[in-house]
């Protein structure tokens, strides 16, 4: 069974991780950022070793997004459609494991990101990680 683990961040989060403080949000120190990198690396390595990792990707800063929507039946592109504080998808893991509970266990480890301790305040109430079962076929969706 495949599950997608999704994590979120705003443009402001990307900025503070890139070393720039924004309104009420301190910049990440080099140490915190290195610790985050090391944590993510070992997290994905463990999953690869247990054979549960299918794919993992981080997304670039929300400022690079394009949105296409129909306006009066005409497709219109908006560059950088998000507000700075808006939480958007920042990265995902696709894991293949025995149960939803196992996938949840994996995702829960992400709440223990070391650098987060120093940024607890800025993330207060926003530490959201989602786990979604992936449909194996059209039949799953029809059901």
């Amino acid at each position: 069974m495949k599950y997608m683990i999704l994590v979120y961040g705003s443009q402001q989060d990307y900025d503070s991780m890139a070393g720039r403080a924004t309104d009420g949000r301190p910049a990440w120190s080099a140490e915190d950022f290195a610790a985050l990198g090391a944590f993510m690396e070992s997290f994905s390595k463990d999953l690869a070793e247990s054979g549960e990792l299918v794919d993992t990707r981080g997304l670039t800063a929300p400022v690079h997004a394009r949105r296409i929507q129909l306006r009066n039946d005409v497709p219109v592109v908006t560059d950088g459609p998000y507000a700075e504080s808006q939480e958007v998808l920042a990265g995902y893991w696709i894991v293949e494991c025995d149960s939803f509970d196992r996938a949840t266990e994996i995702a829960a480890r992400l709440t223990r990101i070391p650098g987060l301790d120093h940024h607890r305040e800025s993330f207060r109430g926003r530490e959201v990680i989602d786990v979604r079962p992936i449909a194996d076929s059209r039949a799953d969706l029809d059901g």
Partner: protein, 413 residues
Amino acid sequence: MPESDVEDLLRRLAPQVLGAVVRRYGHFDTAEDATQEALIAAATQWPGDGIPDHPRGWLITVASRRLTDLLRADQARRRREDTVARWVLPEHWLAPAADTAPADGDDTLILLFMCCHPAVSPASQIALTLRAVGGLSTAEIARAFLVPETTMTRRISRAKQQIKDSAVPFGMPAASERAGRLAAVLHVLYLIFSEGYASTSGPRLHRTELAAEAIRLTRIVHRLLPEDGEVTGLIALMLLTDARRPARTGRAGELIPMAEQDRSRWDKAQITEGVALVTSALARGPAGPYQLQAAIAAVHDEAPTADSTDWPQILALYEVLMQLSDNPVVKLNHAVAAAMVRGPRAGLDLLAGLDADQRMTAGHQLPAVRAHLLEMAGEHDAARDAYLAAAARTTNLPQQRYLHARAARLSDG
């Protein structure tokens, strides 16, 4: 690491970096600024710190970061102004592509097509090509074209806005329009070369860097499209023309006409290369205008003395060229060739046909050529008047001095 080596490397990498950033993130206009800033950062740091192991990757990373910063600031500002960047998706983006170019190709060609897009005015095409593909700074381009930097900045941002508004996707033009778009690219490269070779204004003919830059860029196009006869013809034409540059001006910067040039000062290596290129292109199929002009330049360059020039051959080439183009300068040169083969009267008769051509009435070329032919015909008074008329029509000081000197020589005699 000497600074000139760093500069050469940066100029070579500039279009590759811009191409990679635009391909990945879009925003040609902002990405171009970000790439320039990355190039400046490298030009400042590398001579002291050494070149990084992966210079291209370093530049792409720095340019991408800078792009993120610029976009972020731009989007924050726009939001405060309560307008959001929106653009209507062009109709052709919704249909499958007519043909797909391989993504791993060199982006330099795509960038050239973008910079020379028909939505952009010719002056802006030139400026943008030199900056985005040539990797020159706005200040350097402004200096080369003898305009204030602010003027050049405006010209470049206007060009980028025009490209943005046209919503041209980052990719090769469709097969149906590729030939026309390539012709526009070659024309821009030729204009850059001409601007450097025969600067149209200013006190000195010292803008040879532009000619060298045009040759460098055309070499890149030739490397990417080795089978294209007109690209080969253009690079040959530039090399064969530029080969005469060392003999074209005297010690004091005065212009020396081809017939009086010291041919031992012509660049033999460039002539050999140019002749080989044009020969290979002509062997491949019907000749286009650049190949014919290169062939003419080759006939001149291969003559050991002015008197041994094969004028009948040149006249024949101009006659073919006139069938392909309605360019008055071609007609002018055809008249000169006719004069050399059949005598000055034949040339002067052909010039009469150009008097009514609007494109000729402002420039100095027509009276200058007429003056030469009148001098050949022994009509010295008329020749002198024509030289003076020509001098009055050019703003280029070396050209003015040359024309006045010719006129004075006739008065003395």
